[in-house]
Symmetry: none
Subunit: 806 residues, 2 copies
Amino acid sequence: MILTWAQHRLKVLSSNIVLKRLKSTNRHKLATSMSVQQPPWSPPKRQAEEQVLRVYNSLTKTKTEFVPTNGRHVKWYNCGPTVYDASHMGHARNYVTQDIIRRIMSDYFGYDVHFVMNVTDIDDKIIERARQNHLLDTFRSQTTTLSAGLINQVRDAWRIYVRERLSKGLPSDEKPLEGEEDAAFSHICDSIGNPDWKQECLKRDEKFDMHFSSARRCLNALQTAQLQLGTSNVGLDVTHQLIEDSRDILAISLDAQLKSTVTDPAISRNLAAYWEGKFFEEMARLKVREPDIVTRVTEYVPEIVAYVERIIQNGYAYEAEGSVYFDTLTFDGTNGHNYAKLEPWSKGNRELLEGGEGALSSRTGRRSPSDFALWKASKSGEPSWPSPWGPGRPGWHIECSVMASAIFGENLDIHSGGIDLAFPHHDNEMAQAEAYHNCSPWVNYFLHTGHLHIEGLKMSKSLKNFITIDEILQKFTPRQLRLAFLTQLWNSKVDFSESLMTGEVRNIETAMNNFFTNVKALVSQYRAEGTASDGLHHYESSERELISSLYRSQSAFRAALCDSFNTPAALDTLRDIVSRTNVYINSRGKALNVPVVENVARWVGEMLRVFGLGEGEKSQIGWGQAEEADANLNREEILTPYIRTLSSFRDGVRALAMAKNETSLKDILALSDKLRDVDLVPLGVALDDQEDGKALVKLVSPADLVKAREEKRLQAEAKAAKKSASVEAEHQKRLQKIERGRVSPKDMFKPPSVPEGTYGSWNEDGIPLTDGEGKELSKNQGKKVQKDWATQAKFHEDFLAWQKGG
Amino acid sequence: MILTWAQHRLKVLSSNIVLKRLKSTNRHKLATSMSVQQPPWSPPKRQAEEQVLRVYNSLTKTKTEFVPTNGRHVKWYNCGPTVYDASHMGHARNYVTQDIIRRIMSDYFGYDVHFVMNVTDIDDKIIERARQNHLLDTFRSQTTTLSAGLINQVRDAWRIYVRERLSKGLPSDEKPLEGEEDAAFSHICDSIGNPDWKQECLKRDEKFDMHFSSARRCLNALQTAQLQLGTSNVGLDVTHQLIEDSRDILAISLDAQLKSTVTDPAISRNLAAYWEGKFFEEMARLKVREPDIVTRVTEYVPEIVAYVERIIQNGYAYEAEGSVYFDTLTFDGTNGHNYAKLEPWSKGNRELLEGGEGALSSRTGRRSPSDFALWKASKSGEPSWPSPWGPGRPGWHIECSVMASAIFGENLDIHSGGIDLAFPHHDNEMAQAEAYHNCSPWVNYFLHTGHLHIEGLKMSKSLKNFITIDEILQKFTPRQLRLAFLTQLWNSKVDFSESLMTGEVRNIETAMNNFFTNVKALVSQYRAEGTASDGLHHYESSERELISSLYRSQSAFRAALCDSFNTPAALDTLRDIVSRTNVYINSRGKALNVPVVENVARWVGEMLRVFGLGEGEKSQIGWGQAEEADANLNREEILTPYIRTLSSFRDGVRALAMAKNETSLKDILALSDKLRDVDLVPLGVALDDQEDGKALVKLVSPADLVKAREEKRLQAEAKAAKKSASVEAEHQKRLQKIERGRVSPKDMFKPPSVPEGTYGSWNEDGIPLTDGEGKELSKNQGKKVQKDWATQAKFHEDFLAWQKGG
């Protein structure tokens, strides 16, 4: 349209010109008068359509154009961790990959991304783990002596474990009945050397090997304990060794017996808080950006109750036995709703459904097997919150529906998570939210990150290829790990293998490091030479060619990322331009155009930083060095923990001074000691109090200081132990002495203190007069019994005094 | 289309469902069998069209959509400096503003910008300046003794200067002829005190004042030299003082006589290299990013010759007297070409045209006055390069056409420069390039930065408001300067004024600094508290409101930048969200959601960094501190003063606690206040005591904190002074009242309290009965004295009480 208009204007103008040409004879005058207006302009034509971002959407299983509903604002909810154990490589794969996509969206495509993640801190796994830890800890602290009773208790637990857990992997005709456990186990020990047999067991139960290890360890511990008991070695050490070696088995048994006694909700909350803290620490090490908002389930329970009520009102859920279930059959097909949009083929898959419901869920009350819990009635030993249906707790899926709705309302642009969450978790989540909002669709794009395998196999504890993040970071840097994930598509399976890390990953890292080192050296030399000129511009065909390659790389890079964040292809683009630039550098000699090379290096470095591969976020050439990151601490980062310690010490002192208690001054001194002995130790500050009241301040390595304090503590403990041992010995001695005085001197020569018939008659004080045969005692005998009598009289006096309470 | 397809699929599916419903009676079975496929999906609808970038294009004088021809790749040529003097505020305005636009294009909109800038190192101004500097340096080194000959030589030069330069500003009837210079100058000295006369002169020649200063300085130097010569003081010092004070005048005179002797091309090249180096140094101080490629004219002369040859071949240029001129009249209108597309109304403007041609250009040989030089024949004393038309050098405009074509070929997306370059420079550049490539248009978007005025006036040396970058950076930081430019539209006039810098600029800077300091303190406290939870999610309506404001700000920010880089509007958006966040922080108390606040601060900081306002390019919250960049301190140096302060505070607390005085607790509190108000101030630590007893810790610039504490102290002093003044006034008032009671009522009507003879007789209480003449007091008089007596009796009572010590 604009073109047409411009063409029209051109015509009008042209005819004007012709008109004026006719009227005027002075050419120069003409030129002036005809040009009071600018000539028409039309917008440039694009040589090709602009690339648009397409993403692989699990709702279609295809790549579809990404269209945020509201400008550049992107509402994104990501399923976070269930916090009950250490994070592992599967977590790393999932969260680093999400982080890469998030960085590309915001740092490369310039979306205003609003990234919300939940922390699941109410969950059957958390409840069980916390309860078992708690029961085991209590049991350990109460059990200080090895006894036949303890051994029997452990043996019973072991037998149940063999019958109920280990036997899952056995052929059905080999599963032991009660009383057959020992024989069955010795049969397993004989058979397990046979790989085929073991393989069959693992097929039946992938945890078979893990169960076997636990059972064997426990049985060995039982045998050892039995021997110790025989030699009366029944102290704390041997007792706790037995408990430790049986912990997996004992925890299950204690939980089965005592779970209903565990009622303090802090027990699960504390476990969750601990592992949540650990999770975010690991994420920080992996350079995963913090979410914009973190939501915790424990903070949203009232909202969850209200949400469930509305779903019931809308007719998509029902109460049964104090629990509430989602009515999948009613929902599916009503008002255009579809249940299980992500994986309609998984509807009714019992194994997946049960996994989603949790180990502590009720097995009864559902109208259809595909219905799932929105609210679970809590049994005793399970934390609970009030609700119209009685005390209970949220089901897993409802948590995310509620929290995502609380932040984003009735529509999300993106929902992400690991592929194993697609069904039932995400399908149920969507059904709930759509049942609540009466909307469809609740989520526009579902991004699922692919599985992680280790050396070709699924990671599992029983396969002994289970790697925690902490373990992997001892072997590889966060950059190498991230590079490994970048070499794979985010939504396909990653096979994490030694050959990947030492092959492709190492190759890329080395190529980049060499390139950046080289370019930095060239640039530094060029700068040092100043603006000297040899009169040549050094921008010839080879420079033109290199710059063209750079443009093509930039375009190809964009194309790769537009193609559903194809990071392997994008990395290839970077590697390609790096190698072209290396060729250029090597070929160009003295005529090298350094700024052109610098441009390439800056761009490659920036793009690597987009992927989160940058260290020390400076605008330097390249992607920085991990080592520099420490040295590059800014003043603020260094100072903050120290100032914080100072301030909270002052807070404490002020609070005590203002309280004006009798013990305030004493408490202030105790706080001063704590500052020295506890707070400042991990900061590497040693305060040595001196006589003049001024402490000597030393700044040392925190590790050394911690070690020194630990040694001091151990010494003090040893001293205290020695002291308490000598006090105890003294005490025992005294007790023996007192015990010796229990018998009155009047009775000391009569049975049962002496054998029947030792003496015949006694005086009124109980001193014997005749022996058992009636014979008078000899003079010497008489003297001795009188002396003994006097001694005992004294002892007895002491005894009586002690008895009175001395 | 996709929608239609989706609707179609929906129909097919629905009919399938109906079919299956008919066939099946089992509802559950139906649900399973009908869902082996995912339900249809259609792309989300955008709530509004996506914003597109529009730029004010000088080729249309309107804002037009920016369409790069080749994907996201942007070919951008920017006119660089002519390097012969120090860079000034006009340069700062131009290059900082270009830098801002470039950063927005690449860092915000994500274009792959390829930014090329030239350095004009062949130019008549460079040639003249270099030659004059060279001749003056030679003259100075050869002239070591003061002599009558030297004085005469300087006086002759002075006379010529008065006749040829200074007289330009004089009325035509006052211009001196040869021999009249002394009289004329003394007339000027008399008249210059008259503002109207001087104003008229400046209208004739804006450099009049500058010429007058040079002439007066030189004349004074001549008189001094004459005296020194009389006393035979003829050494190097006085000689070089004369040369120095006459340098402007001598340089012109030496150049006029000796220019043809200056033949070494290195002389201009070295001057250019020196000022080019200085230019890039200043740009670095202003945080202007280096161009991707810098092109120098001296390195492109052969290409320029070839380019000119092609234009001649194409019929748009002709040779005359060893120079080559562009044939504007032939070009304009041939093959759809337009001459002067940017400013067609300036065609034939002689003043502008001559400015473009340079002081050393030939005045003859042009076919039309609007024709301009592509190649200039060099006279002796002017550097030259070989050409088919004899030794010469490039014209100014052709330089840019050739260098931009050398990098980008026959089309640029953007060409930029100061608005004063639009005509003739850019119009001529375009004409040349289109004549060379036979293309149209060569440039798609012309971006011209607006003028800079200082306190409302054009900057010029004669107006004494000429400010170099070095001078301005002694007064303001690069950040403040950049902020000043950001508060104005890039293409409008900037009035750089004291009130802008101390008003709006300071306000923005302070608001941002306070905001970031506050948020950092909150975040740091929040992190220190770990993942403790009170069970509430702290994401209520006020958080929802704040996050909505953030989205709206992000969208408004984008809209402002899409609206031709409207940085003032974009800054307003940032200020608005900052003040909303401050309101939120102040209103929310303990329920404050720190991550929400952190999100805002991070976004605001990032956007400020997009504008190039960031210091120390870390991904920290905020925009960094300039001071920190220098601080290459090691950990120990940084920490020691803080740890020392902590330790001595603890020493003090312990000493007081151990003393167990009555006032110990009070003294400890006083010590805590002193720590906050005195000890930590020079360390830049602000502790804000809060109600919950936990101080909020802020790490700020020590200078700011000292200043703030000083202000607080002065305020407190003023308040105390006011209070003590009012206490004193109260005291005085009381004293007066007491003083009034000093006389007993018995004596109050007797002398000396009343004049002798006022009354004649008194009763026993001293109340008058008769007046001085013995007449009894009237009833009224009697009442009055009794009332006065009663009043005084009360005052006297007070006095007696006070005397006793009340």
